[in-house]
């Protein structure tokens, strides 16, 4: 039971980060029907910039939330600039090109961004400085019961606040209604006096800003940053967006959280379910191995990255429109 609860807590934490990143994919897709594969790299750059600031400020002895806050405060505008530039330079000229062209460009851009990061931050892993004192809040009375850490609480609260802020922006502001109109019919949106290019730029910029915060959070959580970290994180968040129904904001949130939970529970239980003695009860041929080493399993928690792709494949096969999506994924 403790394992289960603990994996739920961990899953909600990474899931809320996936959800924030997935929002960036889904917003852009909703408005220009483009999978911005460079988004994962924007998240990575957010993490790198935040780390640089945090490392520089760590020796000052300022309170940790101020240091991390400063990292985020620099990372957000930096990523917004990157997001704006990517759209302006790479995607806008291809607005009316066949769908494959921007898709390939997106992959190209993510390679370019990765290598820019490589030049700036080197190929080494960057460790998060020891500035935050980890505090665990236990759910049970014993010290071994499931717990939630102060970092996890901060990540979940920040994510929820950002998601709420985005929903408010999209459904309650002038820019938001212009975004929704543009996604439904860009030509008619132009006739209403909406500068469609500006709305599209804003969408990229907002998505990149969310991505920057997500990057800083994920880096703080795992305590490590690397120039290739955006690839896997991006693919998982993209899978989450597809799971929820790409183009649908609520879907991205749902998909992200589910993806975090699936991954976390999967990692927590895959060892138990592929334990050789457990398998021996159902399948022939495991008896000998079980007798020899009863503790061994076919797969361990290091297989956790596989779940996102299993989910992606299952969704694409059985429900391409995703959980909350209306239109079938024929556009991707």
């Amino acid at each position: 039971m403790d394992t289960f609860l603990q994996q739920i807590v961990n899953g909600l934490t990474v899931g809320s980060v996936y959800a924030v990143v997935a929002l960036g994919y889904t917003m852009v897709y909703g408005i220009v029907q483009l999978i911005n594969f460079a988004h994962g790299e924007v998240v990575m750059i957010g993490c790198m910039v935040a780390f640089s600031v945090i490392l520089a400020l760590a020796p000052t002895g300022l309170p940790p939330f101020i240091i991390v806050g400063a990292g985020i405060a620099v990372a957000v505008p930096a990523c917004m600039v990157v997001g704006y530039a990517v759209e302006r330079v790479a995607y806008r000229p291809l607005r009316n090109a066949p769908r494959l062209a921007p898709l390939i460009t997106a992959i190209g851009i993510s390679i370019v961004l990765q290598h820019l990061a490589l030049l700036v931050w080197s190929r080494n892993f960057i460790a998060f400085p020891q500035i935050i004192e980890l505090k665990l809040f236990h759910f049970g009375s014993s010290d071994t019961s499931a717990s939630i850490s102060n970092i996890q609480v901060a990540i979940i609260l920040t994510s929820v606040a950002m998601m709420a802020g985005l929903l408010w922006l999209v459904y309650r502001t002038r820019l938001g209604i212009a975004m929704r109109a543009t996604s439904q019919n860009p030509q008619v949106a132009g006739l209403m006096g909406i500068d469609v290019n500006r709305v599209i730029s804003s969408t990229f910029v907002i998505g990149a800003g969310l991505g920057a915060v997500a990057g800083a959070m994920v880096g703080t959580y795992y305590g490590i940053a690397h120039y290739q970290m955006g690839f896997l994180l991006g693919l998982k968040a993209f899978s989450a967006a597809v799971l929820g129904g790409i183009g649908n904001l609520g879907g991205a949130v749902l998909g992200g959280i589910l993806m975090g939970l699936i991954e976390s529970l999967g990692a927590g239980y895959v060892g138990d379910f592929t334990n050789v003695c457990f398998l021996d009860k159902f399948l022939p041929g495991f008896g000998e191995v079980c007798a020899a080493s009863p503790e061994s399993s076919l797969f361990g928690s290091n297989y956790k990255d596989v779940y996102a792709f299993i989910v992606l494949i299952l969704v694409l096969v059985f429900r391409p429109s995703g959980l909350l999506g209306e239109r079938v994924g024929d556009r991707a």
């Binding site: 002038r174 209604i177 212009a178 929704r180 109109a181 439904q184 019919n185 030509q187 008619v188 949106a189 132009g190 006739l191 209403m192 006096g193 909406i194 500068d195 469609v196």
Partner: protein, 235 residues
């Protein structure tokens, strides 16, 4: 000075010349109609005026060349289009669609007043104001498209076949509103397949045939023109 003046306007789609050099004017306060067979280039002409299609030649609005401007820039000059096929935002509600029409305006009280005015023209819309536009009938969507265009308080209103696909009683209702708006002094350029109704409502008219203006003049004269009668009034 004419409110709108087209000179030698041409539009190409790839290699196809859809509009082949047309001249046309609309004076302030006028209701001008543009009639012609399917594929004559009527929609293309309106798309050129509103910046949705790339045009060569001169398109002057209040003396200013607008050919080459972006459609949102042209909209901001006071032109509104009720597009062919209505072009409502399907997932927005009626209220939100009307708000989109007023997107450029900042005078909230006057906007609220205009919403009420649209509702008085089309009471049906008021009953369904919270409904998403995509779930409404074709006639209701047409009312919404017209109402939305009026929300910008246009100085030139372009309508592309507002009666298309509507039941006779609905067509009558739409034309009633068009005459009402015209009487209030809104300048309009109306594209119609229903030539008889359009000519009866208009001051002047142009007949377009395969991308060229072939006949133009007072609407009442065209109504009596034997050529127009046989080709467009089904006599």
């Amino acid at each position: 000075m004419s409110l709108l003046k087209l000179e030698k306007v041409e539009v190409h789609y790839g290699g196809i010349r859809a509009v082949k050099g047309i001249d046309l004017t609309v004076e302030k306060g006028e209701l001008v109609c543009l009639i012609g067979a399917n594929g004559a280039g009527k929609t293309t002409t309106l798309r050129a005026i509103t910046g949705l299609a790339h045009a060569t030649g001169r398109i002057e609005y209040e003396g200013e060349q607008i050919a080459g401007k972006k459609s949102h820039e042209i909209a901001r000059l006071g032109l509104a289009l009720v597009p062919e096929g209505r072009g409502v935002f399907p997932q927005l509600t009626i209220d939100e669609n009307l708000a989109m029409g007023a997107y450029m305006r900042r005078d909230a009280p006057a906007v609220a007043h205009d919403v009420e005015r649209v509702f008085s023209l089309f009471p049906r819309l008021k009953e369904r104001r919270g409904q998403t536009a995509g779930t409404m009938s074709g006639g209701e969507q047409q009312m919404l498209a017209i109402g939305r265009a009026l929300m910008s308080r246009p100085r030139l209103l372009l309508l592309d076949e507002p009666s298309m696909g509507l039941a006779p009683i609905m067509v009558e209702k739409i034309f009633e509103v068009i005459r009402l708006i015209a009487a209030e002094g809104v300048t309009m350029l109306l594209v119609e397949q229903n030539a008889k109704l359009a000519l009866e409502a208009s001051h002047r008219a142009y007949v377009l045939e395969s991308g060229l203006v072939t006949i133009s003049g007072e609407a009442s004269k065209l109504l009596g023109d034997p050529q127009v009668r046989s080709a467009y009034l089904g006599e």
